[in-house]
C-alpha cells in the first residue's frame, strides 16, 4: 500500500516513511501503553489464527494438534468431495457454502429494506415511540430464544404453529416449513430478519434525526414532494449508516450459527447447513479438528475482504465527517 494510491482528500494516516520517523523521534514511548492491548491481541487473536491455519493442514483426531501433515488435502476434500459443504454435481449448486450465499443476499437486503421503511415511516407518525419499541423488542431476545420461538411459530401442527393455523384457517394444507429442504433456509432467514430489523431501524432512525430540519424545510419550500425528499435528501445522507449496518450484517451472516443450530440442526438432510455449522459438526461432533479448521479458514478468507473494506472506509470517514 503506497501512499500514492489513496484518493485525494481521504488521506488521514501519515505515509509509512513518516510513521517510522515518528517512532524514531520518540514515539516508542507509546509502546508501553500499547503493550497490554498488543499482548492480548497477540495471544487471543493472532496465535489462535496461526494455530487454526496450521491445524487445517494436518489430519487430527480429537483436538490434538499436528498428528499428521496432509498439506492441502483437507481443503481439496472440503471444496470438491464434501457434498454437504459444496455440492456441484447438479444445478443449482447446494451445500453449506451456497446456503451462506443465500443468507448473504436475502438477509441484509430484507433487513435494510424493512429497517429503512420502518425508520422513515416511524418519524411521520405521532405514536413513534411505541411503534419503534415494538419493532425493537425482538432485538432484546437472544438468538437461541428467537430460534425456539420460531420453532413454535413454524410448527407443522396447526394447533401449535401460528403460521400453519393461518394456512389451515384459509383452507390450505399445513406446510412443514422447516421440514422442506426448499423452504427451510428461507424460514430460518425470516426468523432472523424479524430479530434484527429493530436494530437497523434504530440506527437509521437516529441518523434520520441527525439530518438538519432546515435542509428538509428548504426542499419543501422549493416544491419537493415527500418522495423527492426521501429519494434525494434523506436517502443519500443515510448512505453512510446504511453501509455501516450492511457491513455489520454481512459479517454476522458469514458467522451465523446459533439460530440454525436451534431450529434445524442443519437438517432436513443437511439442507440448512451453513459454514459455521459445518465447522461445528466437523470439529466437535465428528472430532476432526484439522478438517474443521479448514472450514474455519474458508470462513476467515470470506470475512477478510469485508473487514479490509470496512477499515479503509473508516479511515476515509475520519475526514468526511
Amino acid at each position: 500500500m503506497s501512499s500514492g494510491t489513496v484518493a485525494p482528500g481521504t488521506v488521514v494516516a501519515k505515509p509509512p516513511g513518516r510513521r517510522l520517523a515518528a517512532l524514531r523521534e520518540g514515539g516508542w514511548q507509546a509502546l508501553p501503553f500499547l503493550a497490554p492491548a498488543l499482548i492480548l491481541v497477540f495471544f487471543f487473536l493472532i496465535v489462535p489464527v496461526i494455530w487454526t491455519v496450521l491445524l487445517s493442514v494436518n489430519k487430527t483426531r480429537g483436538l490434538n494438534f499436528g498428528t499428521e501433515w496432509v498439506g492441502l488435502d483437507n481443503y481439496e476434500r472440503l471444496l470438491t468431495r464434501d457434498s454437504r459443504f459444496l455440492n456441484r454435481d447438479e444445478f443449482p449448486w447446494s451445500g453449506a457454502l451456497v446456503n451462506n450465499i443465500r443468507w448473504l443476499i436475502v438477509y441484509p437486503i430484507l433487513c435494510l429494506l424493512l429497517g429503512l421503511i420502518t425508520a422513515v415511516l416511524a418519524t411521520r407518525v405521532r405514536y413513534e415511540a411505541a411503534f419503534k419499541a415494538i419493532i425493537f423488542v425482538p432485538m432484546a431476545i437472544s438468538a437461541t430464544a428467537v430460534g425456539v420461538i420460531w420453532l413454535l411459530v413454524y410448527s407443522p401442527d396447526p394447533d401449535i404453529g401460528v403460521v400453519n393455523a393461518l394456512v389451515a384457517g384459509a383452507g390450505g394444507e399445513p406446510v412443514s416449513w422447516l421440514g422442506r429442504a426448499d423452504l427451510a433456509n428461507y424460514a430460518i432467514i425470516l426468523a432472523y430478519v424479524w430479530a434484527s430489523t429493530g436494530f437497523v431501524m434504530v440506527v437509521l432512525s437516529a441518523a434520520l434525526k441527525g439530518i438538519s430540519q432546515e435542509v428538509i424545510e428548504a426542499a419543501r419550500t422549493d416544491g419537493a414532494t415527500e418522495w423527492d425528499i426521501f429519494r434525494r435528501i434523506q436517502f443519500p445522507l443515510l448512505s453512510l449508516p446504511i453501509a455501516v449496518v450492511a457491513v455489520w450484517m454481512i459479517i454476522n451472516v458469514i458467522k451465523v450459527f446459533d439460530i440454525v443450530y436451534i431450529m434445524t440442526k442443519g437438517g432436513p438432510g443437511g439442507a440448512t447447513r451453513v459454514i459455521a455449522y459445518s465447522y461445528y459438526v466437523e470439529t466437535f461432533e465428528n472430532g476432526l479438528g484439522g478438517y474443521g479448521a479448514s472450514v474455519a479458514v474458508v470462513m476467515l478468507v470470506l470475512i477478510i475482504p469485508v473487514m479490509i473494506w470496512q477499515i479503509r472506509r473508516f479511515r476515509s470517514e475520519a475526514v468526511v465527517s
Binding site: 509502546l31 490434538n64 407443522p156 412443514s176 438432510g269 466437535f284 461432533e285 472430532g287 476432526l288
Partner: protein
C-alpha cells in the same frame, strides 16, 4: 525522568500480561489414583424425566457413601465432551450414549479403565452377558459398564384404538398400513424424522431382518460396503412403508417433527396417527412428558417389530449407554462400582425410566407392565444386534441419519447418496 517511569511501567505491564498468558496456557493435570475431593461430576445427555430417574440413583449413592455428586446435562453430548477434554476439564464420569465413541475415546487415551480405577473388571462384568461387556471392552481392556439397555425393536400403538391390530409379519404390517392409509381419517404412522436417529433405527430393524444379523454386523463395522444391494433393498422397503401417503403430515411434515413430538402424534389427546416405531423408552417418556393420562396396557402398549424373512428370525436391535470414567480418583471408582451394582440398577428401574442389563436386577423391580415387557424382550432375545449407527465411528453415525432423511424424501437419490456415503465410510473406517 518521565521516560524512565514509562519504561518501568511498560516492563511491569509486559511481565503481568505474560504471566496471565502463561497461566492460561498451563493447566490440565492427571495423576494416578488419587484421593477424591468429595464430589464427583457426572455428565450425560438426559434431561426431564430421564434425568430425574438417574438423580434418584445418585442421591442414594450420596446417602451411602457421603460423596456428593454434581449432575450435568448436555443434550449435545459429544461436542461438550470433546471440547471439555480439549480444555483439560473433562467430567469425572460420563454416561456415553454411543459405544462407537467409547472406542474412539479409549484409543485417544481419554478414558480411565476399570483396572486403573482399582476395580476388578471380571467381578463387575460377571453381572452382564457378553453382548453387553463386548461394548465396553476395547482391545481387551474394560473401560466401563453398560448403564442401561433399550430395545429398539418395538411398535407402539393404543389397544383402545380399534382400527389397529398387532401384526406378526412385514406383509401383514404393510397391508394394515395400506388399509389404514385409505380407510382411516388419520395416517397409519407417525415419524419424528427431524431427529434422524429415529430413521436409523427403522433402517436397522428392516436390515437386520432382511440381510440377517451377520451382514448387519459386517455392514456397520465396515466389512461390506454401503453400496451392497441389501442396503438399497432395505431402503426401498422402508420407503414403501413410510411415504407421503402413510406418514402423518407427509414426509415433509415428518422431517419437521422431532422425536417427542412424533410420540405426541399418536398418544396425545388429539392423535393424528395410529402407530409409532421407536425404542422401549417411548413408554416412560409418554407417561412422564407427553400425556400422563394414558394407561399402560389400555391406551398405550407395544409389540415386537415384525418378522420379515423367516430365515433371519427376529433379531433384537438394542441400544445402551455406557458409564465411563475420565478422571482417576477414589470417589470416581466408588461411583462407577456403585452404578454397576444390582442395588443401583434396582433403584433405577423402579422409576420406570430404563431397563437394566444387570443380571442382578429382578423382574419384579419394574414398576409397570411396559418396562417389564421390554426387559423380558431384551433378556429373552435369541439374537441381539447393537444399534448400528451408534457403532459407526466418528462422523458416520450422524451422516447416515442425514442420508436417510434425504432418501426418504426423494427415493430416486438412493444410488448417488449411497455411493457418496461409502466414500466417506472408507475414510472413516481407515481412521
Amino acid at each position: 525522568m518521565i521516560r524512565r517511569y514509562a519504561l518501568a511501567f511498560g516492563a511491569v505491564v509486559l511481565a503481568l500480561s505474560l504471566a496471565i498468558a502463561a497461566a492460561a496456557c498451563g493447566g490440565s493435570d492427571d495423576g494416578g489414583s488419587e484421593e477424591g475431593t468429595g464430589t464427583v461430576s457426572v455428565l450425560s445427555l438426559w434431561g426431564g424425566s430421564e434425568q430425574e430417574a438417574f438423580q434418584k440413583v445418585l442421591t442414594q449413592f450420596t446417602k451411602e457413601t457421603g460423596i456428593k455428586t454434581k449432575y450435568e446435562s448436555a443434550r449435545d453430548f459429544l461436542p461438550v465432551v470433546r471440547s471439555r477434554l480439549a480444555a483439560g476439564n473433562p467430567p469425572m464420569v460420563a454416561i456415553i450414549p454411543r459405544p462407537g465413541i467409547v472406542a474412539d475415546l479409549a484409543n485417544q487415551g481419554s478414558l480411565v479403565s476399570l483396572e486403573e480405577l482399582g476395580l476388578d473388571p471380571e467381578k463387575i462384568n460377571a453381572n452382564y452377558s457378553d453382548a453387553w461387556t463386548n461394548l465396553t471392552t476395547v482391545d481387551g481392556t474394560v473401560y466401563g459398564v453398560v448403564a442401561k439397555a433399550n430395545s429398539k425393536s418395538v411398535i407402539w400403538y393404543s389397544p383402545a384404538d380399534k382400527a389397529v391390530k398387532t401384526t406378526q409379519t412385514w406383509d401383514e404390517l404393510q397391508s394394515l398400513t395400506d388399509d389404514l392409509a385409505t380407510s382411516s381419517p388419520i395416517k397409519p404412522w407417525s415419524l419424528g424424522a427431524k431427529d434422524s436417529w429415529t430413521l436409523t433405527d427403522w433402517f436397522e430393524n428392516v436390515y437386520a431382518r432382511t440381510a440377517g444379523p451377520d451382514k448387519y454386523n459386517q455392514l456397520f463395522t465396515g466389512e461390506i460396503p454401503f453400496t451392497d444391494p441389501t442396503v438399497k433393498n432395505a431402503l426401498e422397503m422402508m420407503s414403501k412403508m413410510l411415504n407421503d401417503k402413510t406418514v402423518a403430515g407427509g414426509i415433509d411434515g415428518a422431517l419437521g417433527t422431532g422425536f417427542v413430538d412424533g410420540i405426541g402424534k399418536v398418544f396425545s389427546a388429539n392423535p393424528s396417527a395410529h402407530m409409532y416405531m421407536e425404542g422401549g423408552f417411548v413408554g416412560g417418556i409418554t407417561l412422564a412428558d407427553v400425556n400422563p393420562n394414558v394407561k399402560p396396557g389400555e391406551s398405550i402398549d407395544f409389540y415386537p417389530f415384525v418378522t420379515i424373512d423367516e430365515a433371519q428370525g427376529q433379531p433384537l436391535v438394542g441400544g445402551g449407554d455406557i458409564t465411563a470414567a475420565f478422571v482417576n480418583n477414589t470417589d470416581v471408582a466408588k461411583l462407577v462400582e456403585y452404578l454397576a451394582s444390582p442395588e443401583a440398577g434396582t433403584i433405577w428401574v423402579s422409576t420406570g425410566a430404563i431397563v437394566s442389563p444387570n443380571k442382578g436386577v429382578t423382574p419384579d423391580a419394574y414398576p409397570n407392565e411396559l418396562v417389564k415387557k421390554e426387559a423380558e424382550q431384551i433378556t429373552s432375545a435369541e439374537t441381539f444386534v447393537f444399534d448400528g449407527s451408534d457403532l459407526l465411528p466418528g462422523a458416520l453415525g450422524e451422516d447416515w441419519g442425514t442420508l436417510l432423511q434425504t432418501v426418504l424424501k426423494d427415493p430416486s437419490k438412493v444410488d448417488s447418496q449411497l455411493e457418496t456415503f461409502q466414500q466417506q465410510a472408507q475414510d472413516a473406517f481407515a481412521g
